[in-house]
């Protein structure tokens, strides 16, 4: 066995000045761009309305309000069930494509990633047209068999949409983790007589646990904090929609909205902490990096039929919304009928005529945001897992808490904090596009962080020790050993951050200052406000999906190629 028992690990090197400086720099960044702006808004939760004096009465009110308590438990239930269903979708895809010789693995990985890039508004419209009460499927069911299925009704509808939407979090993190497992482990188990499901359950899955939990905790927290889906399905008794309704409606100075935000943040941090606790005291690292060019297993014909069948079935289900989007983008009128009345390419003509600036901006903003995220993600993961710095976990928790902060709250916080600061020529700091990029980076940092964290957890510290024993400095070790070994995880983190930042709307809407600086999501929003804009909106949505999909596919090719180069592939 190559796993290093936790107890025998040599005493960790204490913090170097460089590490302390790094930690301080990250802390300052988080303080300035996350804690401060959010605190300027959230402090309302602790003040009495009208008098601004400190009070905890608002929290007392929260726990006494039946609606909020019901909303809290609904959110917990929906999040937990979404994790279950997301796992059901993700496990087969991840396992089949990483552990077997599977034709088109990169394509499957890319397609399986697409649901995450569900452009706001258009995505929901497309899903309603397919799965809604009078969507294609229900109209046909009603016609043929005389009954309908409530895919999109109530809490179950939210679970359905959320698990389709967010399962790629598990898929991408789990796939990265599975690729990192040394196949020698599996072979040893096989030699000892273990095979099939037992092998998966006892050896493979436990070793991939960090990746799975990273993805599962993201799904849980994301569903817990997501407001768009419940609102678009008209489900209001969940926590995030309640916070949003409060913050954005008449009671803009109403403390309860911010109390709910505080509860959301605490719940997210607790969920992250629990997932960290689940991994504590165990070691997932392997020293041997699958060298020797072990082959992926070849499936028997029966296995292959079954395997491809499962993959196609899952992909058909999770990609149905995108099929709906595609149909909508070519549709003239689509109303109360299984298919559109007629098809046209006019919407694309309009979008290409007007929207190239949105596309360019999106590519720039999302790439920079994703870049910032992986740099911070690697740094924080390294500090947390490899040093004994006091309070290093706080960096992790603070960064993760960003997941729970409603986009509107962050947007308002940025305006409040940075609008007063002006450049020499009088333009406010908050009106520069870079502010939007920073907001996107902060909002997506948790995604990259979880991915980097999981990747580093799978790398044995003894590899670094070996490098240092051979005379490498710490920074050289990180550069030449740690980061290359984490490459898969880092790329996974970048892709998630990049592609979700590309369709982020809530913070964007608050911070966009001019049409020429606006990203795609803003353009979509503007189109989707009118009946005539539905088609062009869908066309722009398709463009967004293709764009991000192309980037994802490219990064999968890079992963595969780099693994081949290291002799890890087939």
């Amino acid at each position: 066995m190559t796993a290093v028992p936790a107890l025998s690990r040599p005493k960790r090197m204490s913090a170097t000045p460089g590490q302390i400086a790094l930690a301080l720099a990250i802390a300052a960044f988080l303080l300035f761009f996350l804690v401060l702006p959010v605190a300027t808004v959230i402090y309302v939760a602790f003040t009495e309305k009208g008098t601004n004096s400190f009070t905890l009465i608002n929290f007392y009110d929260f726990f006494r309000t039946e609606l909020f308590i019901r909303s809290f438990w609904n959110s917990v239930y929906v999040s937990a069930m979404s994790v279950v269903w997301a796992s059901v979708f993700a496990l087969p895809l991840a396992y089949l494509t990483t552990r077997f010789v599977f034709r088109g693995a990169a394509v499957v990985q890319t397609l399986g990633f697409l649901p995450l890039i569900m452009p706001p508004f258009v995505g929901a419209v497309a899903m309603q047209l397919l799965f809604g009460r009078n969507g294609s499927i229900n109209l046909l069911l009603d016609d043929w068999f005389g009954f309908k299925i409530g895919f999109m009704e109530g809490l179950n509808g939210v679970i359905f949409v959320q698990s389709v939407h967010y399962f790629p979090f598990i898929l991408i993190n789990l796939s990265a983790a599975l690729r990192n497992i040394d196949r020698a482990m599996e072979e040893a188990a096989q030699n000892l007589g273990s095979s099939g499901f037992r092998l998966f359950r006892r050896i493979v899955f436990p070793l991939a646990m960090p990746g799975y939990l990273a993805g599962a905790s993201l799904v849980f927290v994301k569903v817990f904090d997501d407001l768009a889906t419940p609102l678009l399905l008209n489900v209001k008794d969940m926590l995030a929609p309640q916070a949003y309704l409060r913050v954005t409606s008449i009671g803009i100075a109403d403390p309860m909205g911010y109390v709910i935000s505080v509860v959301l943040i605490i719940a997210s941090v607790v969920a992250m902490w629990l997932s960290a606790l689940a991994l504590k005291g165990r070691d997932y690292a392997t020293t041997q990096r699958g060298g020797g060019g072990l082959a992926k297993r070849v499936m028997s014909p029966m296995e292959a039929i079954f395997g491809y069948g499962v993959v196609i079935l899952i992909l058909a289900l999770v990609l149905a919304p995108h099929l709906g989007l595609l149909l909508l983008s070519f549709a003239t009128i689509w109303s109360y009928s299984p298919l559109p009345d007629a098809f046209t390419v006019a919407h694309y003509a309009r979008v290409f005529g007007e929207s190239s600036v949105y596309i360019k901006n999106t590519l720039i903003y999302a790439s920079i945001a994703g870049g910032i995220d992986i740099v911070l993600g690697v740094a924080i993961a390294y500090l947390v897992l490899r040093t004994k710095l006091v309070g290093r976990e706080w960096l992790d928790w603070t960064a993760s808490a960003a997941l729970a902060i409603p986009g509107v709250v962050l947007g308002i916080g940025y305006l409040r904090t940075f609008y007063g600061i002006t450049l020499p020529d009088g333009t406010p700091l908050a009106s520069l596009w870079i502010t939007l990029v920073l907001a996107l980076a902060i909002r997506r940092l948790p995604y990259a962080l979880r991915a980097c964290h999981a990747a580093l957890q799978q790398i044995s510290v003894s590899l670094e020790e070996a490098a240092e024993n051979l005379g490498a400095t710490k920074s050289r070790t990180v550069r030449r050993v740690v980061v290359p070994l984490m490459a898969g995880g880092i790329l996974a983190g970048f892709v998630t951050s990049f592609s979700t930042a590309a369709v982020e709307l809530s913070a964007t809407l608050m911070l966009v200052q001019s049409n020429s600086d606006a990203p795609l999501a803003y353009g979509l929003y503007v189109f989707m406000q009118s009946a005539a804009g539905r088609g062009p909106g869908a066309a722009l949505g398709v463009v967004a999906v293709i764009l991000v999909a192309a980037c994802t596919f490219l990064s999968h090719l890079i992963i595969e190629r780099s693994q081949k180069a290291k002799g890890m592939g087939h």
């Binding site: 929260f62 039946e66 409606s249 200052q513 539905r534």
Partner: protein, 445 residues
């Protein structure tokens, strides 16, 4: 050149558009003018194009935000304001901005625009914002959906409470949609507090959904997910223009109110901001509103000559003259209370309300076949329980309740406490009503 044009225009008594161009030239606006708006691209694009053509040298920068976010944005950025104009439908948003001293007064030079539309003043009396288009409220429905589900054509609010419409109607929440708030307030003012709430709750018992965006309702009706929606008129007109199979009707108790534009306090480009207001009110600007993608009602009566025959004209159509006089002050005094009551009694209790409404529809069906006085009495009792309000009209506008929502000194209870009380009262009443309704159903069968 400028003088010659002025002279020429005056001498010939030329159309308003020319004199407007003269004013614009006299002040020589130039550069960029920024407008925060809730209007969609289909509305802003044609107007931007026409404006930039009418006032060369000025570019219109459109920032699209929903009304609430827009108000919040202007408020948050007032210290270093970069925005010239605010442009949206809901008059309340402008009242909020005006109250916070975020608007500049201005006196438009455009002529030909009357004082009132229906019974609603077109411009803010103090000159802080100006109506440029009118919109009425009403009922929109999907024809294919209605045929497939055998829905009758609705004519009035009360129709939507009929059994045929159960689970087929949608509305936006008044707390999130300024225009829906006006619809609710119109019903309350037109029918009176208690009767109005009774109508609202009876309609709500038939609701399929209560959405969070104004546009969520027409979208659901357009795509056929919901049969009937309570919307502002131009949502239906522009959907018709796009080819969707939808129809629209103005109920008898409704109102027509202006959509507005106002100049932000301390605008970076005042001359251009004024030029934009003048443009919107000029005949050229008013004509753009007839564009199929916009379809709003111009405030200049002369412009209707260029509209099609079937275009609703609020200045000549007798329906609009009968519409109720809408009291803005009354509405403003109780905005928060009305919206919160709607949410606590209807939005967040919709399942319970629908449950008892469904049973009552069954009772009615049974009674129609076989009358039964005792069952009818029980059903009426259930209806009264549903209609009961925890707050009277006088209380709704009282300093005490307003204080609870704004944090004033006079407050008797905190907002959260009131909300809990109201929600509990509604829940208990709906549960009791359900028992009564089931009793009535047993008797009726």
């Amino acid at each position: 050149m400028v003088n010659r044009r002025v002279a020429l225009a005056a001498a010939l008594g030329l159309s308003l558009s020319t004199s407007f161009a003269t004013i614009a030239l006299a002040q020589a606006p130039a550069g960029k003018v920024t407008v925060v708006t809730s209007f969609s691209k289909d509305v802003t694009d044609p107007i931007k194009k026409a404006f930039e053509k009418a006032v060369p040298g000025v570019t219109l920068e459109v920032q699209n935000r929903n009304t609430n976010a827009g108000v919040k944005y202007v408020e948050e950025t007032k210290a270093n304001n970069q925005v010239d104009l605010f442009w949206a439908s809901a008059p309340d948003a402008f009242e909020v901005l005006k109250g916070k001293k975020l608007l500049t007064p201005y006196k438009p030079k455009a002529t030909g625009i009357p004082e009132k539309i229906g019974s609603y003043p077109i411009n803010d009396p103090q000159g802080f914002y100006f109506g440029f288009a009118a919109s009425g409220y009403g009922i929109m429905w999907n024809d294919r959906y209605a045929k497939a589900n055998k829905l009758p054509e609705p004519k009035d609010w009360q129709d939507l409470a009929k059994p045929a419409f159960y689970d087929h109607v949608s509305i936006a929440s008044p707390a999130r949609s300024g225009t829906t708030h006006l619809t609710v307030e119109t019903i309350l003012q037109g029918e009176g507090w208690d009767k109005g709430w009774r109508t609202l709750k009876e309609m709500s018992g038939n609701f399929r959904s209560i959405t969070e965006r104004s546009f969520g309702v027409p979208e659901a009706v357009n795509s056929g997910q919901v049969g009937v929606g309570i919307v502002i008129d131009f949502f239906a007109f522009s959907a018709q223009a796009s080819g969707f199979p939808v129809k629209f009707v103005y109920p008898t108790v409704t109102t027509v109110v202006p959509a507005n534009v106002g100049i932000i306090a301390n605008p970076p480009n005042k001359a251009a901001a004024e030029a934009f207001v003048e443009f919107l009110l000029s005949p050229t600007g008013q004509e753009v509103l007839l564009d199929p993608g916009i379809r709003r009602l111009p405030v200049n009566p002369a412009v209707y000559a260029k509209a099609g025959a079937d275009y609703p004209n609020p200045f000549t159509d007798p329906r609009f003259q009968k519409m109720i006089g809408f009291d803005v002050d009354k509405s403003e005094a109780r905005t928060a209370v009305v919206d919160t009551l709607f949410d606590q009694l209807i939005s967040f209790q919709l399942d319970a309300l629908k449950g008892v409404t469904k049973t009552l529809h069954e009772v009615d069906a049974a009674l129609a076949k076989k009358p039964n006085a005792q069952a009818k009495a029980a059903a009426d009792e259930a209806r009264n329980l549903i209609a009961a309000m925890p707050v009277t009209e006088a209380q709704a506008a009282s300093a005490e309740l307003r204080g609870a929502f704004t944090g004033g000194k006079e407050k008797g209870a905190r907002q959260a406490e009131l909300e809990s009380q109201w929600a509990n009262a509604a829940r208990e009443n709906y549960a009791k009503a359900k028992t009564k309704a089931e009793e009535a159903l047993k008797l009726a069968r």
